[in-house]
Every structure is written in C-alpha cells, then in structure tokens.
C-alpha cells in the first residue's frame, strides 16, 4: 500500500512538473529581459544570448496597400523597370531593420505624383543613410522591410513573408509610390508590385502565387502576356510610322524609281543606257549592239 502511495506521489509530481514546463515553455524567453526591452532588437539579442545563441531568425508580416487591379496600380503608381546595383541593411530604430536598395532606372513606363492619404504617415522614410548617397542621374532608393544586422553580438535576420530580397543586377518591373523630388520610392503594394524581368522582357512574380492570388500579376498575364515589351508599347506607344507624300511616292514608282521610306525621297532609276535619260514608255529600241 505504501509502495503504491509513493509511486502515485512520484507520478503526480512528474506530471505536475511536466505540465508546468509545457505551459511555461513559450514564455521562458521573456524571463530574462527587462520589460522596457521587450520587442526591441536589443531585447531579441539579449534573449538569444540567454539561450547561448548568436544568430536568430524572425519572420515579419506586414499589411500592404491593396493594389486592387493592374489598371489601378498603373493609374496610382509610378511604373518603372529598374535594376538594383547596391544594397545595405541598417538598424533603423530600436525595433526595425530595413534594407536600402539603390536602383538604376532602366526606363520609366508611367510616372505618377507621390500619393499620400489623409491621416496616414508618409510612406517615404524621413531620412536616408548617407552612405547610399549621392545618387547619380537615373538612380533611386527603395527601402525594403527586413534584413540582417549584428546587434549586441547577435545576428538578427528578419525576413518578410512573400517578399524575398532583391537580387543585385537583376532587372525588375516595379510599381512604386515615388517621391521624384527626393528619388525615393516606397514599395507600397509590397511583393504584388515587384516582378523580375528576363532578357526577353518576360515577367515573373517574386513570390510563389496561387492562381488568382494577385490581381496585378493576373492583369499582366491576361493583358500583356507577362511581357514588359507589350506593357511598354501600350503605356508608351511608339511614334506612328513615317508618313510620306503618297502622290510623290506613286510618281516615284511610275518613273521606275525606288521609294525610300526613311526620308521620304525617291531614288531615281538608272538611266536608259541608250539615251542616258530616264526610262520612258514605250521603251526605245537601242539599235544594234556594238
């Protein structure tokens, strides 16, 4: 009886310890951090150090602006093809790491003024890291959330769901809320506003999509065959073909000449070898050959 009682007691004790450990597991990390450091980068670093870790991965999720549709995105945002040529992650404040990209603009397909909404903070950061400046002509800066930085000896990696980092020297089609006066763009619609461009103008999204998941991509596919060249030709149609005087052109042909479109002039035919005059109708007999 005593043995049974002891066994039962030990079992209960183990059970209690197990439940206690289970219930406190998720909150253990907060025990060693001062309350005013919770949620700060320093707090995450302290937490990692307390576990003997020197690198941590955190996953960020952000509500972006809804692009609504491709047409709305084109109507509201600056659309450009650009290539990132430099990037650098920074600790932006106590809570955030961000990565600044310097893009070289390949072409601007549509330019729109900076869009601000009432009661909202500006989408454009107030300050720019000095080492990303100066900008050459045709260069812009874009801030992407997340990145990696060393904080108190701990490497903190912050990734953003659906929003991988840009690859240097890869061309992208971007829908930006652009402050043209400061050459700073905001990726306001998030990953739905960035597409990779291949050497043939083919577009592909930067994140894995389920069918119907992204109306901007659906529009690019349905209306422009997922091709930058088709989008460009629609947004910036080429100039009309050269127009020449059709009467003059017809006259050129009637004389047997060749009409040169690029310049709208007639290359006169070779002269009649008999008369050294332009060909006439009917053709004259040259007489016997010598």
């Amino acid at each position: 009886m005593v043995k049974k009682f002891i066994a039962l007691t030990v079992l209960c004790t183990l059970l209690a310890i197990g439940i206690s450990l289970y219930s406190s597991k998720a909150s253990m990390q907060t025990q060693t951090i001062p309350e005013d450091q919770l949620g700060t980068l320093h707090g995450f670093a302290m937490d990692a150090q307390s576990r003997g870790e020197y690198e941590i991965d955190l996953a960020k999720t952000i509500i972006f602006e809804d692009a609504v549709s491709l047409d709305a995105a084109i109507a509201n945002y600056t659309v450009l093809a650009a290539t990132p040529i430099a990037k650098q992650s920074y600790v932006l404040d106590n809570y955030s790491i961000g990565t600044w990209y310097k893009f070289r603009v390949n072409e601007t397909l549509a330019q729109k003024p900076l869009m601000l909404c009432s009661g909202c903070p500006s989408p454009i950061p107030d300050t720019v890291p000095p080492d990303m400046l100066p900008l050459n002509a045709g260069e812009i800066l874009v801030l992407q959330p997340g990145g990696s930085q060393l904080v108190d000896g701990v490497t903190i990696n912050i990734s953003v769901a659906d929003f991988p980092d840009f690859t240097l020297n890869q061309k992208y089609l971007l829908f930006l809320n652009l402050d043209a006066s400061r050459s700073i763009g905001s990726l306001q619609v998030g990953p739905a506003g960035a597409y990779m461009v291949d050497n043939y103008g083919g577009l592909s999204p930067i994140f894995q999509l389920e069918s119907g998941d992204n109306p901007v991509w659906d529009g690019l596919t349905a209306q422009y065959g997922s091709n930058l060249n088709q989008l460009r030709n629609t947004l910036n149609p080429p100039p009309p073909p050269p127009t020449c005087d059709q009467v003059e052109e017809q006259s050129c042909y009637d004389r047997g000449g060749t009409w040169i479109f690029n310049g709208c002039y007639c290359r006169e035919p070779n002269p009649d070898p008999c008369t050294q005059q332009p060909w006439r109708e009917p053709a004259m007999d040259c007489g016997p050959a010598y």
Binding site: A26, D36, A59, I63, S122, P123, F207
Partner: protein
C-alpha cells in the same frame, strides 16, 4: 407523364442544390492560404490540450519602452478583447472554431504575443501594425510574437478598425498568409487601403477552416513564412565601381518593316502601287 415530370424536376432540384453547395464551399475555401512547413503554436499558460491552445495577449505598460498608458491602455484593451473574441467565436462551415483560444492576460511571465506601441514602423512607414513572429530554431514551432502598433494608428483609427487589423495580425500568428486579391476574395488576410484601413469585413469561414488545415497538416499549406533570409551585407554594401550613366529622356529607335501593296493594272510592269503597310518589328532604347 406526371411521374416523369416529377422525376425531371427532382433531378433539376438536386443539380441546383449541388451547384449552390459547391459554390458555397469554393467561397469558403478559396481565399485564405497558410504558411507551409512550420509547427503551429502549441499553446501557452492555460492550455489544456491540442484543441484548446491558449494564446496569451499582453500589451506593454512601461513608461519608457512601448507602453500603452492612460486612455491608450483603455483603447488597446478594447481592441485586444474584441480581436480575441472574434477569433474565439468564429467558425468554419462545419461549425468548428480554431484550436486557438486567445486570452487577454497581463501576466508578463505568461505572455505569448507582446503588443508594443511604437512611434512609427520605420521599415514600412505608413504601416499601422506589424507582427514579428519568432519560430523555434530547432522545431520550427512559432513560440511567440511581438505585435507593433503605431501611435498614429492608435490615435486615428477606431476600435473597430484596429480590431480588424489585430484580427489580421493574429491570423498570421496562427498560420495564415496574406491575401492579395481583395476584389475576388473575402478574407481577414486581405490587404489595406488608405494607408492601413483593412478591406476585410471580418474573419470568414474559410479563414477558420484554413487555420485548422494549418494545424493539422502544415505541409499542405502554400508557402513558407519567411520568404528567404536576406543576405548579410557589410562594409557599405556592393556598389558598382563603373556604373553605366543613365540619361533622361531615353531615346528609343523603332524599326518598321514596310510592305508595299500592288494591284494588277494595264500599265507599265502590269502592277500599280496602292499603298504601304508598316509593321513594328523591333525597338531599341539606349538604356
């Protein structure tokens, strides 16, 4: 004849009913997606089992570090209670709730989601809220998260608007991905408009169903939470030493093929020119 008509009417009714049900099912399941390959939060203090995983929500109260004080504390308490109640009571089409049980709980040693007030979200300045989740390095389990709320959002948005935003962010904590197609889908995971007003009309049956899928079979979800880590760059980052100058406006050259159209005629050569059709064949721009 009457029997035949009744039979046809019955078949027709069954068809209509099946179609309506399939449409309802599609609407329920079609929009929300979940994060793949991670282990769902097992539950914090108060958890009684896998179907009752308590998520303790605590807002910061410190004077000098992200605390909600005075009226701000009152407002965020209402938001937290409302959002917790939303998730705890919404059901899927089978009348199931999620296995998570959100609870406001100011006990700092038990918190699972820490809610912090920040002056701004510097890496996306017009955002109102952000969730930063911490997966366990070894198991991949989401163990805790920090939810940032901006002072501007707290001041300018109503409790109902903030509640929808918090519903969205807590949806991320329990496995849901963002939804980028608000026009065709209704999900709490829809994106925002005018800065940070959510389009969502609230938690949908499909959202609850997808949370349950995430818990029971995360491999069946769509994509991983962290797209991929950024590469560490240091020393000022890479800068092209010889950047190609870029000038505006660019000059583009358009190349056309011109095809002349002739018709037969009683004239020299037997054909008469009537016009030219131009085809754009290539474009070259001096980038």
């Amino acid at each position: 004849m009457r029997i035949l008509l009744c039979f046809m009417l019955g078949v027709y009714s069954v068809g209509i009913l099946s179609y309506a049900l399939s449409e309802a099912y599609t609407a329920d399941a079609g929009c929300a997606t979940c994060f793949k390959g991670e282990k769902a939060f097992a539950g914090g203090a108060g958890t009684t089992g896998p179907d009752n995983r308590v998520v303790n929500l605590r807002y910061a109260t410190t004077q000098n570090g992200g605390g909600f004080l005075g009226a701000d504390a009152t407002k965020i308490s209402q938001v937290i209670s409302g959002a917790a109640n939303d998730w705890n009571t919404h059901r899927d089409n089978n009348q199931n709730t999620t296995p998570f049980n959100f609870q406001p709980n100011q006990n700092i040693s038990q918190m699972n989601v820490n809610i912090v007030l920040v002056p701004k979200i510097s890496d996306h300045p017009n955002a109102c809220m952000q969730l930063l989740a911490a997966p366990d390095k070894n198991t991949g389990e989401i163990t805790s998260a920090t939810l940032y709320v901006t002072t501007a959002a707290l001041a300018n948005r109503t409790v109902d608007e903030l509640k929808l935003l918090m519903d969205h962010e807590l949806g991320h904590f329990i496995g849901l991905r963002d939804n980028y197609n608000n026009a065709q889908c209704s999900s709490i995971m829809s994106q925002a408009h005018d800065g940070c007003v959510p389009y969502a009309k609230g938690i949908q049956t499909g959202d609850v169903a997808k949370v349950r899928d995430y818990v029971s079979n995360p491999e069946g979800c769509w994509d991983k939470r962290g797209a991929k880590p950024h590469n560490i760059v240091s020393g000022g980052g890479y800068t092209d030493p010889n950047p190609i100058p870029d000038y505006y406006p660019r000059t583009c050259y358009y190349f056309y093929d011109a095809v002349d159209i002739y018709v037969s005629c009683d004239c020299r050569g037997g054909q008469r020119y009537v016009g030219t059709v131009y085809y754009l064949t290539d474009v070259f721009c001096n980038y």
